[in-house]
């Protein structure tokens, strides 16, 4: 279902790359998640899915989905978020999404602390904090070309683009 793919096309309207069928299907999943029928998904509702509860990055993903920052994901945000994983969304969008996973305070830079936190979510107690810190430092060093100690989107995408990882950020809905 999710393999690689990279087809560039710019969003016509609202970044939605879905046709009606897909929107309908997404709508169904949205309704299924929307337990209190409020029209928006709270974190609790997300967490009602057992798989999601066990995903270390779920909070980050929800935060990134939640573009207006009100703590809930409404249907528009839901579609927009999911559309970034469509085959039709372009590389830039996927990189943006990946970048914003790391960029917790949304200032356009990944700081040392942010990277640390995100990685901490992914390793839990598997690594000691100081090990993790070394890792973070190391990563920042490699990515940080202008030496400001933090990673801009350009620096991030330069490396990630090379690795063609963005091709993997594709889901067939």
């Amino acid at each position: 279902m999710s393999t690689m793919g990279n087809e560039a096309s710019y969003p016509a309207e609202m970044c939605s790359h879905f046709d009606n069928d897909e929107i309908k299907r997404l709508g169904r999943s949205f309704k299924k998640l929307d337990l209190d029928k409020s029209g928006s998904l709270s974190v609790e509702e997300f967490m009602s899915l057992p798989e999601l509860r066990h995903n270390p990055l779920v909070q980050r993903v929800i935060d990134v989905f939640d573009t207006d920052g009100n703590g809930e994901v409404d249907f528009k945000e839901f579609i927009r978020g999911a559309s970034q994983f469509s085959v039709k969304s372009d590389e830039e969008q996927k990189l943006r999404f990946a970048f914003s996973i790391y960029d917790m305070d949304k200032d356009g830079y990944i700081s040392n602390g942010e990277l640390f936190q995100v990685l901490k979510m992914m390793v839990g107690n598997n690594l000691k904090d100081w090990q993790l810190q070394q890792l973070v430092d190391k990563t920042i060093i490699i990515l940080d070309k202008d030496g400001d100690g933090k990673i801009s989107f350009e620096e991030f995408s330069a490396v990630v683009r090379d690795l063609e990882i963005h091709k993997k950020l594709v889901l067939l809905m």
């Binding site: 899915l49 509860r53 270390p56 990055l57 909070q59 992914m122 690594l127 904090d129 100081w130």
Partner: protein, 895 residues
């Protein structure tokens, strides 16, 4: 020729009769008396010839590779075929008859299995399974398509009168021929593609196809053959149905046989703990048994061995010892390479035998054109269909390479030789055509595919190891994908993989892996450990060289010590400088950086939570045990819940709440670095990289302690190894302490490193920065011109350290309560161990170490210097205790 020559020599060369009892010679009358010298050529003939052929082939290989230019242009397989032609010509000219041909029996029973086993065992499983759909399509549909179209087209050609009427063949004969000529040959593909280095996806598709199409080829060949033998008139509708059914029987049966043997193999290796020596043998024996069993049941033997290799690898690799793993790897590669060489050479030789074949230009040309054309057409059509489903479409260039890479080889040749001339009257023509096709594909296409790939700018495979970043981001992306998948509520493809993983973890792994292997959470330690050894070895050479080139010897140092120390020192320096934040340093010390990457990579492999969708891939190398899985789930869950609670308490803006948490820790690190720094800069600046490193301590539980403490010495010596301690433990303690005490410091960057208690109290912090405190830094120092004085200096300096006041204990006690449990076990990880006797420090150093630890009497024993290298002295441990391996690595972390 050889045989003739040798049999001449086999004449009795007996001298004067001395003793009577002798077996009568085959030649000549029985001679009474003992022969002084006797040839027994006929007794050794067969194995001798086999050995000779292999030797010739190997020597030829060596000769080819003498010239880099030739091998870079011409694939080895071409050269071998040409050599075979030449040798065959010589044999033919001398013996007047063709000898030493590629016998189908030999080929299928002895030459093919090693190659297939090698490719199955070392198949990149994730890549293979990710592309399984495409591979299966090309293998099944593609082969069927090729066989039928080629056969039918040839028949059409004959009907059109373009094939000479002396070729007596009907539609069925042509279909039979089509079925054997259509299959892409794994040996040829492997030989050519391994030198071309196209990207992995392309390679795995072509190669996977060539392996998996065996079942189709075998079935088609058998069905057609039996139809031909029955005569087309007698073939009934049920026979066609049987033919279709046999496709499933042969392929699934072959795969099942392979999996059964894989299971047996894994199970057997679980119990080889005390007889490590036969582990590699078991792998080969059972895989070969799988092949023979499948062959016996006329199932697809290639499929059986491929599945056996694919299936058993994970468990076998976990069960067998490190040395066995290496042995398996090299033996497999050697056998496969050897078999491949012999196959190509014999192919060349066989082609010389003109008695076997009859030429028909129409048939030959027609076949050549048809197989190329239909292959290309088939690939294009199938790719078009596949691209509807693939998210990464195979582009035109890929399709060209796939079409062009459809090489035919020895399988086709062996199959055509197997035909029965009485049933297939056109056999000789088919043989000739097959030889031409094989030669054309291997030589012409093999020669041109490299330039073609270059010209088309096909994406080549990149051989760099995954970088730290890649590793990180891939993990992140996998988690993201999993999360989004769940959010949008879409489950499919990965669901089954997930289920399989669960099953594997719950039952298979537990059944097939020995408990110790199963328990070790991930093999990261193993890798890490091997990395250490490799580095040490390479640095031993390097270090020795450095020492000798400067003409210095360390008088008081046993050579082995000096070497080892130098090595570890270099290791430290290198990895340390790689960690230094100075970008220039990183760039200049590439090797250090690369190694650093590798280490980090393995650290990540072990540390990162396994995303759902990655289980499959990661299990082959880094399997996580079931409880690890549960633990991970639990941890993540708890974290998520905690985060929820936190965000409840805080407003939306307070996202920084969680963020502020790790800060103090970082501060701690900073501060600690500050300490190290201050320490370093007190004297003349030393190797910054080294100084700024933090110790990474890994404790590896030895596999051997499993259930019996009496595990044999030999095994211990066999499989266990070397302790590298890159740094005296004092620093580690210091680190723990500092990171705790630094909670006070708000921000590392703003506030300059203030002297810690340690800094204030440790006497050598002031003034003696230049002199060594630890073993490692001792040798890190630039070797003074006068080694002796330098040595004495450091000796005296070390001795002057013998009187530091009880310095670190107080700081330890004044620690604020440690916020994180995570860091606490650090010190206890250190096993109380003594330097191994065989690895004594130079007296002065040992003394320094001792005095150091004596001076800080309050410090635990861990303070003592660790052996740089040497066996763990298990006599110091009570039986039954885990043997710990302490691997300490210097990591950089300073900003």
């Amino acid at each position: 020729m050889l045989r003739a020559a040798l049999s001449l020599l086999a004449l009795p060369l007996a001298g004067a009769a001395e003793q009577p009892t002798q077996k009568p010679e085959s030649l000549g009358e029985p001679l009474p008396g003992l022969e002084l010298f006797r040839w027994q050529w006929h007794e050794v003939e067969a194995p001798y010839l086999v050995a000779l052929w292999i030797l010739v082939a190997s020597l030829a290989k060596i000769v080819f590779h003498l010239s880099r230019k030739v091998t870079s242009l011409v694939p080895e397989s071409c050269l071998l075929i040409l050599l075979g032609l030449v040798l065959g010509g010589i044999v033919l000219a001398v013996a007047k008859k063709a000898e030493y041909q590629l016998e189908p029996g030999t080929f299928f029973l002895f030459l093919l299995p090693p190659i297939v086993l090698d490719s199955g065992y070392f198949m990149p499983s994730r890549l293979f399974f990710d592309n399984l759909g495409a591979i299966l399509t090309y293998a099944v549909v593609g082969t069927l398509w090729n066989a039928f179209t080629t056969g039918a087209a040839l028949w059409g050609l004959q009907q059109a009168g373009l094939v000479a009427p002396r070729v007596q063949a009907g539609l069925l004969d042509f279909l039979l021929f089509g079925s054997l000529i259509s299959a892409v040959d794994p040996v040829a593909v492997l030989a050519v593609f391994e030198e071309v280095h196209v990207n992995e996806t392309l390679f795995i598709i072509v190669f996977g196809e060539s392996l998996l199409n065996d079942a189709v080829t075998v079935v088609l060949y058998k069905v057609c053959n039996s139809f031909v033998e029955m005569g087309s008139a007698n073939v009934q509708a049920t026979d066609y149905l049987k033919g279709v059914a046999s496709l499933f029987v042969v392929s699934l049966g072959g795969a099942a046989v392979g999996l059964v043997f894989a299971f047996l193999l894994a199970l057997t290796t679980r119990f080889t703990k005390r007889v490590r020596i036969i582990e590699p043998l078991l792998v080969f024996l059972l895989a070969y048994a799988a092949y023979l069993t499948a062959e016996m049941a006329s199932l697809s033997a290639i499929l059986a061995v491929t599945m056996c290799g694919l299936g058993c690898k994970k468990y076998v690799e976990a069960n067998i010892s490190h040395k066995s793993r290496t042995t398996v790897k090299y033996t497999m590669k050697t056998l496969a390479s050897c078999a491949e060489t012999v196959i190509f050479m014999l192919l060349g030789i066989s082609a010389v035998d003109s008695s076997k074949w009859a030429w028909d230009s129409g048939l030959v040309l027609g076949t050549l054109i048809f197989i190329l054309f239909f292959r290309a057409l088939g690939v294009v059509l199938q790719t078009w269909v596949l691209n509807q489903f693939r998210l990464v479409p195979l582009d035109k260039i890929d399709q060209v390479v796939m079409s062009y890479g459809g090489l035919r080889g020895a399988v086709a040749f062996a199959l055509v030789i197997l035909l029965d001339r009485t049933k297939v009257p056109a056999k000789d023509y088919f043989v000739a055509t097959t030889i031409v096709v094989v030669f054309f594909t291997v030589i012409v296409q093999g020669l041109t595919i490299k330039p073609l790939v270059k010209w088309l700018k096909v994406k080549r495979s990149e051989h760099h190891k995954p970088t730290l970043n890649q590793e990180l981001h891939e993990h992140t992306f996998d988690h993201i994908l999993a999360a989004v998948e769940d959010v949008v509520g879409h489950h499919g493809y990965h669901y089954w993989r997930d289920r399989w993983e669960q099953f594997d973890k719950k039952y298979l792994s537990q059944l097939l892996m020995r408990r110790s292997a199963y328990r070790i959470r991930d093999q990261i330690w193993d890798v890490y450990y091997r990395l250490n050894i490799r580095d040490a070895i390479s640095f031993v050479d390097q270090g020795g060289h450095v020492l000798s080139s400067t003409g210095l010897t360390l008088p008081s140092m046993p050579s082995r010590n000096s070497m080892a120390e130098t090595s570890v020192t270099n290791l430290l320096r290198e990895s340390g400088s790689g960690a230094c934040l100075d970008l220039q340093v990183i760039d200049t010390v590439r090797s250090g950086r690369d190694r650093e990457d590798a280490v980090m990579h393995h650290l990540l492999c072990g540390g990162l939570y396994k995303p759902r969708r990655r289980y499959k891939a990661s299990c082959s190398r880094h399997f996580i045990s079931e409880d690890a899985q549960e633990r991970q789930d639990k941890e993540v869950f708890q974290q998520n819940m905690k985060r929820r609670l936190e965000s409840f308490k805080s407003t939306k803006h307070n996202i920084c709440f969680t963020k502020s948490k790790p800060r103090p820790r970082k501060t701690g690190r900073r501060k600690k670095d500050g300490v190290a720094n201050a320490e370093a800069t007190n004297g003349k600046p030393r190797d910054l990289g080294f100084q700024d490193t933090a110790a990474v301590i890994l404790t590896v539980e030895s596999e051997e302690e499993e259930e019996d403490s009496d595990s044999s010495e030999t095994e211990k010596e066999d499989d266990e190894g070397i302790i590298f301690v890159a740094r005296a433990t004092s620093e580690v303690l210091q680190e723990g302490k500092v990171s705790g005490s630094l909670e006070v410091c708000p921000s590392p960057r703003i506030i300059p490193p203030s002297p810690t208690c340690a800094e204030k109290e440790l006497p050598w912090k002031s003034g003696q920065g230049d002199l060594a405190v630890y073993v490692s830094s001792e040798t890190t120092k630039i070797v003074p011109v006068d080694m002796q004085t330098g040595w004495n200096q450091s000796m005296s300096s070390l001795e002057s350290l013998a009187s530091p006041p009880c310095n670190q204990a107080p700081t330890l006690t004044c620690l604020p309560p440690h916020p994180r449990g995570a860091e606490e076990p650090q010190a206890p990880l250190y096993p109380p161990s003594d330097p191994h006797p065989s690895f004594a420090f130079p007296p002065s150093l040992a003394k320094a170490g001792r005095s150091h630890s004596e001076s800080s009497a309050d410090l635990p024993q861990q303070q003592e210097l660790q052996p740089l290298m040497g066996h763990k002295d298990h006599t110091h441990l009570s039986p039954g205790t885990n043997s710990h391996w302490c691997i300490q690595f210097n990591r950089g972390s300073r900003l």
